[in-house]
Symmetry: C2
Subunit: 359 residues, 2 copies
DNA sequence: CTGAAAGCGCTTACAG
DNA sequence: CTGAAAGCGCTTACAG
C-alpha cells in the first residue's frame, strides 16, 4: 500500500486520540460528522447553504460533543465585538459608588439596549488609563473624564478605534459631547453673589495632577465660570478658598469640617452634588443651620437632590442625555456614518432650599 | 535568474502595494523591519529574547507604521480576556436605574479593580438571556436574577465557562452566593403582624413568567418567608393582596395607588426598597400619613433608605458583600482554585420610622 | 449542494 | 540570538 500523504496521516490520529477533548472545536465536529469545517460553520450561520439532512446531522453531533462556536474566534474573524467600551478615569468601585456615573451609564445603556451592544466598563490598569486600552475587546470607546490627556487620544487614533470624548478636554477633530460647565458654574456663583455672599468656599474635584499646564477640562471650565462671576463684583479666585476633594460624600464631609475649622465661609459652592451632600452632613453635625447660617450649592442635579433635605440648590446638567448622545455618536462613528459629531449641552440653575442670603 | 519560490513571490508584492494599509499587522511590521513575525511579537512581549538593536528597530518601525498588536488576536491566542461578564436579567437602562444593581456592581467592581479585570455588562439579547451568552468575550460570568432557568445554566456548562449564580434558583454543583431571603421576609412580616397588622398588601417583584412550576428563586423564598409568618397567626398568603410590579419607583407608586383604591391595607410590605419609596410617594400624594395611617416596609436597605423620610423600616441584605464574594468566587473558578464554592449571607431587620401599629 | 484553501492577527514551542 | 512552522477557532469567497 502506498503511504498516505504524510501531513494528513500524521495529524488525524493525533487529534482522534486526544484524551480530554477540552472544548471541542469545529474541527472535532467536522471529523465526527464526516464533513468539512465549512459545513459545520454553515450549519450554525448559513443553514440554507447545506442540505437539511447534513445540517441536522452536524447539529446533532455538535450537541452530543457539546460544541459551541468559540466567541473570540468568531469575533476575530468578524472583526466586530458588538461591545462598547467605557474608558473610566477611576477604579470601578469609585465609579459605581458615584450616582453621577450610574446616570451617565444609564443613558449609554439605553442606546446599547436598542442597538444590541454590551457595555464594557474599563477602569485604569495600574493607575493608567492608557494601559487599559489594549485589553479591551470593543468596537469603540466612550472616554470619560479625561481632564488631562496622557497619550490616550493618540493611542486610540493609532489603533484606528472610534471613540467619543466626554467630560474631557477638547481635541480638534475628535467626536465629543460637551456640557456648558462654564455657564453653569457662572450662574450658580452669580446667584450666590447676588444673594450677598462674599465669603465663598469652593469644593472642587481633585486632586488634580501636579504639573498641569494645558488643563482645560470641565473642571477648569467650571472654575473659569466662577471666576467670571467673581469678576463682576470685583473679586478674583484668590479671594475664595478652594478645596480639592475626591468625589465622595465622605470626602465632602471631611473637607467641610476642615473648612469650618478656619474662618467659616458664608456659602459653600460644591462642584458636585455628592460633595454638597457631604457638606450639609458636616454642617448639620457641627450644629450649623443650612441655609440660615451657611448656604450650600451643588452641581449635577442628581435625582436625590430633590429629595435631599434641605432640597438642594444646584446646577442641572443633562446626564442621561449626555450618555445617550455619547453612545449614539459612538455607534455612528463605528458604522462610519458620521465621523466628527459634537454637541454642546446646556445647564440650568435649579433654585431650591439650600441657599439663601447670608446671616 | 531562477524564479523565487512562487508562494512568497506572489504574495509579498501584493501586500507591499496595498494602497490603504488599513490597520498594519505584525506581518507588515516584520516585512518593513526585515524580520520574522515572531521577532515582532518578541519585541513587544518578550524583549529579552531578541537583541536590543533588533528590538529598537522593530519598535521604531512599529511606531512609524502605527502598529499596535490586535487585542482580539492576542486574546484568541492567550485564551483569556481579563474580563468578567455580568449576565443581567433586564436591559441596561433598567439595571442601571436600579440602585440595588449599582451597589452590587460596586462590590464586584472592587474585586475587578484589585485583580485587574474589566467588567462586561451583558443584557438580554432580543429579550433572551440565553442568546446573549455567545456574544460576550469573557473569562466567566456572574449570572444575576435567574429566577427561572431557561437553559442558561446548561449553555454555560457546555461552553465550559466558569460562572456563579446570584439572586437565582439554586443549581446543584454550581457556585452561588445566596441570601437568606426567606428568613428576612419572615422577620419583616412577623414584625408587621406583631405590630397588629392584619390587612397586609405585598408589593412583589414581577411580572413573573406565566408558566412557572419549578420556581424557587429569591422571590419565591421571600414569599415563603411571608407565608411562614402568616401561618404563625393562622393566616395564609390568600389572606393578603399581592401585586407584582417591575422594580421602579414609578411602578411602586402606580401599584400603590391601585391598591389604595380598593379596600386599603393597613400595611404595605414591599419586596424592594425602591418599590417602598414609590409606595410612600403615592400615599403622601393621597394624603395618607405614613406610618400613622398606613405602614410601609422595604427590602434591601439601600443607602438612601436611611435618608428617606420617613426613615424606612426594611430588611438589610449585604449587597456590596454579595457582589464582592460573587466576583471572588468567579475568579477562583476561573483560576481553577475552587470549583464549587457557595455562601449563604444573612439578613437583618432594620427598624426605623415607616411602620407602626395600625391606626 | 459541498469541500479545500486562505485568511482574520497573534504567540509560542521548536529548530537552528 | 533568530526564524519557519504550527496553532489559537472561526468564516467566507472560490471551485467544483
Amino acid at each position: 500500500m502506498p503511504p498516505r500523504k504524510p501531513s494528513s496521516a500524521s495529524k488525524a490520529p493525533a487529534r482522534t486520540f486526544k484524551t480530554k477533548p477540552g472544548k471541542p472545536t469545529s474541527t472535532d465536529v467536522a471529523a465526527a460528522a464526516g464533513v468539512s469545517r465549512s459545513a459545520v460553520s454553515f450549519a450554525f450561520n448559513n443553514p440554507q447553504r447545506i442540505s437539511t439532512a447534513t445540517r441536522e446531522r452536524i447539529l446533532a453531533v455538535a450537541e452530543e460533543l457539546g460544541y459551541t462556536p468559540n466567541t473570540l474566534g468568531r469575533m476575530l474573524q468578524a472583526g466586530t465585538t458588538n461591545s462598547i467600551g467605557v474608558l473610566l478615569p477611576q477604579g470601578l468601585a469609585q465609579i459605581l459608588e458615584n450616582p453621577y456615573y450610574s446616570r451617565f451609564l444609564m443613558g449609554a445603556g439605553q442606546v446599547c439596549d436598542r442597538e444590541g451592544y454590551t457595555l464594557l466598563l474599563t477602569p485604569p490598569l495600574q493607575d493608567s488609563v492608557l494601559k487599559a486600552i489594549p485589553y479591551a475587546a470593543v468596537d469603540g470607546f466612550i472616554v470619560c473624564g479625561l481632564e488631562i490627556d496622557r497619550g490616550e487620544v493618540a493611542e486610540l487614533d493609532r489603533r484606528g478605534i472610534p471613540f467619543v470624548l466626554i467630560d474631557s478636554d477638547r481635541h480638534e477633530g475628535a467626536p465629543h459631547v460637551e456640557v456648558d460647565d462654564r455657564g453653569g458654574a457662572r450662574d450658580v456663583a452669580r446667584y450666590l453673589l447676588e444673594l450677598g455672599h462674599r465669603r465663598l468656599a469652593v469644593l472642587s474635584i481633585g486632586p488634580r495632577p501636579a504639573a498641569d499646564p494645558g488643563h482645560r477640562g470641565p473642571l477648569a471650565r467650571r472654575l473659569a465660570g466662577i471666576t467670571d462671576a467673581l469678576a463682576e463684583v470685583g473679586l478674583t479666585l484668590d479671594d475664595v478658598r478652594v478645596a480639592e476633594v475626591p468625589v465622595t460624600r465622605a470626602d465632602g464631609y471631611k473637607a467641610t469640617r476642615e473648612l469650618m475649622s478656619g474662618e467659616p465661609p458664608s456659602a459653600i459652592l460644591a462642584l458636585s452634588d455628592v460633595l454638597a451632600y457631604g457638606a450639609v452632613d458636616a454642617l448639620q453635625d457641627l450644629g450649623v443651620a443650612v441655609p440660615d447660617e451657611v448656604s450650600v450649592t451643588g452641581f449635577d442635579d442628581l435625582a436625590e437632590s430633590a429629595w435631599f433635605r434641605p432640597r438642594l440648590t444646584t446646577v442641572r446638567q443633562p446626564i442621561v442625555t449626555k450618555g445617550r448622545i455619547a453612545a449614539d455618536f459612538l455607534i455612528s462613528a463605528i458604522r462610519g456614518e458620521d465621523q466628527h459629531p459634537h454637541q454642546m449641552l446646556g445647564t440650568s440653575l435649579i433654585v431650591r432650599d439650600s441657599a439663601t442670603n447670608p446671616a
